[in-house]
């Protein structure tokens, strides 16, 4: 095994869809296709892509909210996707998740103390009542929440405060690994910086490892150690953040980078052709990006490029990347 804290090997997730009423064959949606990633301890591994690319499914599958249809998932060298609930319980304490929308992820009828105490009571059941209270108070302080919030309900808080509470809930069991699924997308601009700083501080203090899922490359550039660019359930490029931004190898990565609105202006001056994603149920045989790719050749439509290592250490799934 490698020194990775989390590793996926050939992970696939397929969702069967309801059959058409005239046909017996059930269509299958391939949400993830042979995803191999290895996340190193202490890094902020970013997954970036557009809606439907499978980035959220990947996060949910790693954390155990979704069972992979094929492939293996390891946490600290232990295979976890085949474990039963009871064996997995101590590992769930170490892997937690922060969701996108803090208006939906907190139970509106449960006060902050109850929200934070539940994971401790459930996953660290040996703790006494006093220990639970101490743990909740510690995590509130660490995440910049006021101790007086404990008896309040979610509706009394703003979006930024709710996301702090959601982060506190993820941290209360002292996990090593956090999946953060678009944790700032639902927040206002002036609040986004507060939450990003908090995540950075917590990582420095607690040595956390993040899987950070986002659609926003400017956040990746600031926050990420390494990045996986996903498209239609596949990793198209995997690189160190700086390398990805200075020399992107996959045409899709370049398209994404070109799409970032820049404060200096000028990148929307030339018209762009409408791009269409292929139907994820009836995927074309070749490269999934071929229909939108500016450098497409006949080979791309026939043969699917595998993710391969290039000379500069980047991995890219393109026949022509070098």
């Amino acid at each position: 095994m490698t020194d990775a804290i989390v590793e996926t090997k050939g992970v696939e997730v397929r969702f069967p869809l309801p059959a058409h009423f005239l046909s017996r064959k059930k269509p299958v949606l391939h949400a993830l296709n042979t995803v191999d990633i290895a996340i190193r301890p202490g890094e902020s591994f970013c997954v970036v892509g557009e809606s439907g690319c499978g980035k959220t499914t990947l996060g949910r599958t790693i954390i155990g909210l979704q069972r992979p249809t094929a492939g293996e998932i390891y946490f600290k060298g232990q295979r976890i996707d085949t474990m039963d609930e009871a064996t997995r319980k101590p590992i769930r304490r170490e892997m937690q998740m922060v969701f996108q929308n803090p208006y939906a992820s907190l139970n509106p009828r449960r006060n902050v103390f109850e929200t934070l105490a539940e994971p401790v009571r459930h996953l660290m059941s040996e703790r006494s009542g006093a220990e639970v209270r101490a743990q909740v108070e510690d995590v509130l302080e660490a995440t910049g929440c006021d101790p007086s919030w404990q008896r309040k309900l979610p509706h009394e808080f703003s979006g930024g405060q709710r996301q702090r509470i959601a982060i506190a809930r993820a941290l209360v069991t002292n996990p090593a690994f956090i999946v953060a699924d678009e944790p700032i997308s639902a927040l206002d601009v002036s609040i986004q910086a507060q939450i990003l700083n908090l995540l950075n501080d917590l990582q420095a203090e607690r040595g956390l490892t993040y899987l950070f899922i986002t659609h926003d490359l400017s956040v990746v550039e600031h926050f990420g150690t390494r990045v996986a660019v996903m498209y239609l359930g596949r990793v198209m490029e995997l690189a160190e953040t700086e390398t990805l931004f200075s020399s992107p190898k996959h045409p899709y990565t370049r398209l994404l980078l070109d799409a970032i609105p820049r404060i200096e202006g000028g990148s929307f001056d030339t018209p762009r052709e409408p791009g269409e994603l292929p139907d994820p149920v009836n995927m074309p045989p070749g490269c999934p990006f071929a229909p939108r790719c500016p450098m497409v050749e006949a080979r791309c439509r026939a043969e699917r490029p595998e993710l391969r290592r290039l000379a500069n250490g980047t991995h890219a799934a393109c026949h022509f990347a070098e």
Partner: protein, 322 residues
């Protein structure tokens, strides 16, 4: 005379039995023909309220309580519902955030487009269809002829927003108000749509009011900018000037908080706290509780908008440039 001149616009909503709260507290702006203005602010700052007020679309029980909106010498607030229809959807068009909500799901694209044209022009259906196809081609929709008989769900999100833009352009408006037109779309599609809006505005000399929370998009597309906070304009002026040398502490804070300005892993500048709701505004400048430059005067008096900046202690050139 300017094409559009809004002065001292107030929008009020009833609160309790006799009270009122103001969602807009005296907003003024002028827009010349063909000019592109970006209205930036956090949710609740009043930017959509401004758009709705211009089109006389403030829903009961809200009302415009003060001010005037003069379009080509005519105060839109004095017009009857019948007369405003000569202007709304005809000389001033709107593009909303979510194309799936804007388009009627049970009518074909063609029906909706022809309907729009016939509401404003005496025109035969055949002639209307010809015009619609021409507009669909103008927004670069592939195989435009066939799309007239398609339903909205048969198109991708990006194509749907292109259809909405085509509808907005059908009547050759002088002004388009676009309220977060790309927030519901993916980044690459956002770039396509914004490049298209920019091109069409330039080619047809159409003025644009672009409402968004995204400073990058505003920098790319607009010539002037208006930054709103808690129902007032705090700073306005040429887009690039304000982005390079913001004078209001809130504008400066928003810009400094953007991840693209911080080095990788560096701490982001953060504005403390969050924007107050309009029902609980502090006395004086609404921003003063979050402002590091605030003095006693800021909590006593509301700073007027002078030379494009509503602040008693604006940043000077050297501070702003840093």
């Amino acid at each position: 005379m300017a094409m559009l001149e809004i002065s001292d616009l107030h929008v009020a909503f009833p609160k309790g039995r006799t009270g009122e709260v103001e969602a807009l507290r005296g907003v003024s702006l002028t827009l010349e023909k063909g000019q592109r203005l970006g209205v930036v602010g956090e949710s609740g700052a009043g930017k959509s309220m401004l758009a709705f007020a211009i089109l006389n679309l403030i829903a009961e029980p809200g009302r415009v309580s003060e001010g005037s909106i003069v379009f080509h010498g005519e105060n839109l607030l004095d017009l009857s519902e019948r007369d405003i229809r000569r202007i709304r959807g005809n000389r001033i068009s709107m593009i909303f955030q979510d194309p799936m909500v804007t388009l009627n799901p049970v009518l074909t694209i063609g029906t909706q487009m022809v309907e729009t044209l016939k509401a404003h022009r005496r025109i035969s259906t055949a002639e209307a269809r010809r015009l619609c196809i021409a507009k669909l081609k103008e927004v670069a929709i592939p195989s435009a002829e066939g799309r007239l008989d398609a339903y909205p769900h048969e198109l991708s999100g990006g194509l749907r927003q292109r259809v909405v833009i085509a509808i907005a352009l059908l009547t050759d408006p002088e002004l388009i108000i676009a309220d977060e037109p790309t927030t519901a779309l993916d980044v690459t599609i956002q770039a396509e749509i914004m490049a298209l809006i920019l091109k069409l505005c330039r080619e047809n000399d159409v003025a644009l009011i672009l409402i968004t929370h995204d400073l990058g998009v505003v920098a790319e597309v607009t010539e002037r900018i208006m930054i709103m906070y808690a129902g007032v304009c705090v700073e306005t002026g040429p887009t690039q000037q304000i982005i390079r040398t913001p004078r209001h502490p809130y504008s400066a804070g928003l810009l400094k908080a953007l991840p693209q300005f911080a080095g990788r892993g560096a701490r982001l500048y953060q504005i403390p706290g969050s924007m107050p709701p309009i029902t609980a505004l502090p006395p004086g400048c609404a921003y003063h509780p979050r402002c590091e430059r605030a003095t006693g005067r800021c909590s006593a008096q509301i700073p007027p908008l002078e030379h494009g900046c509503a602040c008693f202690h604006p940043l000077d050139q050297t501070e702003a440039a840093s």
